[in-house]
Symmetry: C2
Subunit: 226 residues, 2 copies
């Protein structure tokens, strides 16, 4: 089995990506990045998902992006509620260069486990305001990876950033995961959980998740506050 | 004054880069990355250098690359002594994807302080075995940066990765820094300091530093063990 490295956040999208990569026959080494996000509850979800899907390995790396700030997820900026998620502008939950940072760490892991296949749950449908969720970024990252690494620069191996969800709606993602036997009750999406550990139901991520389950005709296992 | 972001490790090279960037009239925001390297003494050196050169700001970001391993600097692999540093092969002190990771975090800081000029002390002369110290990598990173960010993807701003030391010998770097008034006694290079805080004098980094001062005809302020 060929090795692959998978960014696994604990959210719905990356859990589906792991299920897809396993289904394609890759031996999956997962990377879960703790970047100082408010929703630490996501990290526990990532652990449950990796165990449930029997990933080959899982590593946790801390990067304290709060030292840089600039986002509602890492700084003292309020997470918006009931925002129009169709608006298209860059939301305050955008973390500057987040996918570049996380994919670069994933690239380091790829060098260590000798993988040239990277998997990420980037999605250009629901996250159209995030530049680092678009195909142009992923292609530019592949070129960069080939020059940054021993595998690429010395051995001429091409890197592929697989983003199997890039063009899918949330409902399509959910149906794909259900087909692969994924239990979405293990995943977590809310940016702003209540102290008692309920999903707020009103942040961008909750809004998008709820609508996805509704449109997929699948019952949503998430415990919402409202 | 235009803002710039500067990777500042506490070593000789990045201290010189900061002095050059300040001399070119940039207002410099420094990023010091604690990636779990053995030589924590470097971080204190970075603090001293930023203060001495009156940088606009300095941020410290932790990224625990020990969770990934694969290098003598972040794993339980011995730092080599008295190695032939002219050999050209990739040394065990290579940290997988290190410059991609550090430049990506620097890119996040650039977004926050609204800078499009990034400075790094990459050098293709003494670090010819490190793929991520070569011009091809830096150019590929610029292209990636333009697709990864709001500044690049939404506002069409080009990013420049400045590597003013890329073609310089260590002696030339030292002479440049001395001309700019830099005190190299504030900097630290050794990969493997003794418990009493002396430089080992025998790792790749000490060998290259010593020879640089000798060739520059400048007295080396470093306290060596041997």
């Amino acid at each position: 089995m060929r090795p692959a490295v998978v960014l696994l956040s604990g959210g719905l999208d990356s859990a589906t990506v792991l299920a897809i990569a396993q289904d394609r026959g890759f031996s999956c080494h997962c990377l879960t990045v703790d970047y100082g996000q408010r929703h630490q509850i996501e990290l526990e979800a990532a652990r449950r998902v990796a165990r449930f899907l029997e990933a080959k390995s899982q590593r946790f790396v801390k990067v304290d992006l709060r030292a840089i700030g600039g986002s509602a997820l890492t700084d003292d900026i309020a997470v918006p509620r009931d925002r129009d998620v169709e608006g298209g502008e860059v939301p305050v939950t955008y973390v500057p260069a987040r996918n570049a940072i996380m994919l670069s760490i994933l690239l380091g892991l790829a060098e260590v486990v000798r993988a040239v296949d990277l998997f990420i749950g980037a999605n250009a449908v629901d996250y159209s305001g995030y530049p680092d969720c678009r195909p142009a970024f992923l292609r530019a990252f592949e070129r960069m990876a080939e020059t940054a690494t021993v595998a690429g620069a010395e051995h001429g191996l091409p890197f592929t950033v697989h983003a199997p969800l890039i063009d899918l709606s949330k409902a399509e993602i959910i149906r794909r995961g259900v087909d692969l036997g994924l239990d979405y009750g293990l995943t977590w999406s809310c940016y702003d959980p209540t102290p008692r550990g309920l999903a707020c139901g009103r942040c961008d991520s909750c809004q998008i998740r709820r609508r996805g389950f509704r449109e997929a005709g699948v019952s949503d296992p998430t415990p919402y506050d409202s």
